[in-house]
């Protein structure tokens, strides 16, 4: 592929020498974005598992006389059960009975008879669908609006907000990767166009001699492949120490859910592919560019 014959003096072009210098940072940014995607994806998966399963809704006892308070609380509980059971992603929601509640608290507070006198909060046990978990922030909002004193497990709500934020960031990173792809392609496009106008006389002669468009396009494509690969390897080389640095500092952090800040092996497998992919992108872009330009010749 590299030793193929070339009639065009593309190797000496000053105008294409900058291409690796532009591809390298693109590959670097792309690698960082991809690493981010993989790390986030791992974190989201773990948090998802934490959120999945069951959760608890607490309804504070309504203020007032014991009798009246109990009735109003019960009404709230029934309303909450209705809302919960109708909510997508919730498979089952049922309130713990007074006896269950007392049994739950007895070990800490002792005398069950005394407990019955207290205005206890009601607890609703909620089972969620692990495949389609409910949107907890939305659920929490809905409950709070409909029933004063209702609250969803705080930690879970916070975690689910974090998950949806992470998902947005993940999409943003994917968008950045696509944008980088476009910019890299555009770089090669303009470099190729410049190269073609520098060598238009040679191209015209080849064209008139009867060179098929692809004969000319291939020479630009081969050159672009080499330039793309150079830039890609350079960019990748810059990625490795940066990633290692992040992983190392994350290990010092020791923070519970942030511990796993290193890129998984599958992520590296993709990132390693970036230099050849950049080369391939450059090659295809150059080839298409030349074909498009030559199609306008008589």
């Amino acid at each position: 592929m590299f030793a193929r014959h070339s009639d065009l003096p593309l190797k000496n072009d000053a105008s294409s020498r900058f291409v690796p210098m532009l591809v390298a940072p693109m590959v670097f940014l792309c690698a960082v974005a991809l690493a981010g995607i993989f790390i986030l994806h791992g974190l989201i998966g773990r948090w998802d598992r934490d959120v999945a399963g069951t959760l608890t809704v607490e309804i504070a006892a309504a203020p007032g006389e014991a009798q009246e308070s109990a009735e109003r609380t019960r009404a709230s509980v029934e309303q909450a059960e209705q809302i919960l059971n109708a909510f997508p992603g919730v498979t089952n929601a049922h309130a713990l009975s007074q006896d269950q509640l007392v049994a739950l608290l007895a070990p800490w507070l002792g005398n069950p008879d005394l407990l019955k006198e207290l205005p206890l909060p009601a607890l609703i046990d909620v089972t969620t669908n692990p495949d389609h978990p409910p949107d907890l922030s939305l659920l929490s909002e809905k409950l709070a609006r409909a029933i004063p004193g209702a609250s969803l497990d705080d930690h879970r709500v916070w975690l689910s907000r974090l998950i949806s934020l992470s998902r947005s960031i993940e999409w943003l990173a994917i968008g950045i990767v696509l944008l980088i792809t476009c910019v890299t392609s555009a770089t090669v496009f303009f470099a190729t166009r410049t190269g073609m106008s520098i060598h238009h006389e040679v191209i015209e002669v080849l064209h008139l001699i009867g060179a098929p468009d692809d004969y000319i396009a291939r020479q630009f494509a081969d050159r672009a492949f080499v330039l793309g690969l150079k830039g890609g390897v350079l960019g990748f080389a810059a990625t490795v120490p940066v990633m290692a640095g992040i992983a190392l500092s994350a290990r010092h952090l020791q923070g519970g859910f942030l511990a796993e800040l290193s890129v998984p092996l599958s992520g590296w497998a993709v990132i390693v592919l970036l230099p050849p992919l950049a080369a391939l992108l450059a090659m295809i872009t150059a080839r298409l560019t030349v074909h498009r330009t030559l199609a306008r010749l008589p």
């Binding site: 009639d7 003096p9 002669v205 064209h207 008139l208 001699i209 009867g210 098929p212 468009d213 199609a295």
Partner: protein, 228 residues
Amino acid sequence: MRQPTADRANVVQFDNVAVRYGRGPEILQDISFSLPAGSFHFLTGTSGAGKSTLLRLMYLGQRPARGRAALFGRDITTLRHYELPALRRRIGVVFQDFRLLDHLSALDNVALPLRVSGTRESDIRKFVPDLLTWVGLAEHLHARPPTLSGGQKQRVAIARAVIARPELLLADEPTGNVDDQIAMRLMYLFEELNKLGTTVVIATHNENLVSRLPHPQLHLEDGRLRTD
């Protein structure tokens, strides 16, 4: 009555062709002629008469503004873009300004038409030096065109035009920069090719050459063609 379809036996067939550059006036008008396979013509006319322009039409460097033109029995106005290269490879051209590639040696310049058509390198190494030797450039195989004289460049250009044994050879002032002796040698090369079946058109204002060789003329005057 004249058959409107392209005649298979004619390598070139023009009917009422007109040419213009951009939005300019028509440089050539009502050009109608045909070149039978194996014919040999001189294309004459004063400077600026349109000789190079007419050749450019024939090597598909430009499309006619009006009229019908056929090459090798194919209407060139209806050809698809991807069909053109194969047709061009059947045509050898000596450009008036040579159009050699300055960064390539004489050898590589002459090898171009063979490389473009996918000829094996071993064959290229066999044929190209022979031809360059024949046109008197044995000493300059590896020279780059900028280091060659006008006449030497012209011979490289001629070698490039004939190396692939084209069916149609179009030469624009191919003897403009050489002395009469070399001119006759080059004409001899064209005649040899012609005997092998190549259709030849040579644009020139070398009266001496035209009078010494018994070939018919296509004469351009006032943008129109007069055949003798």
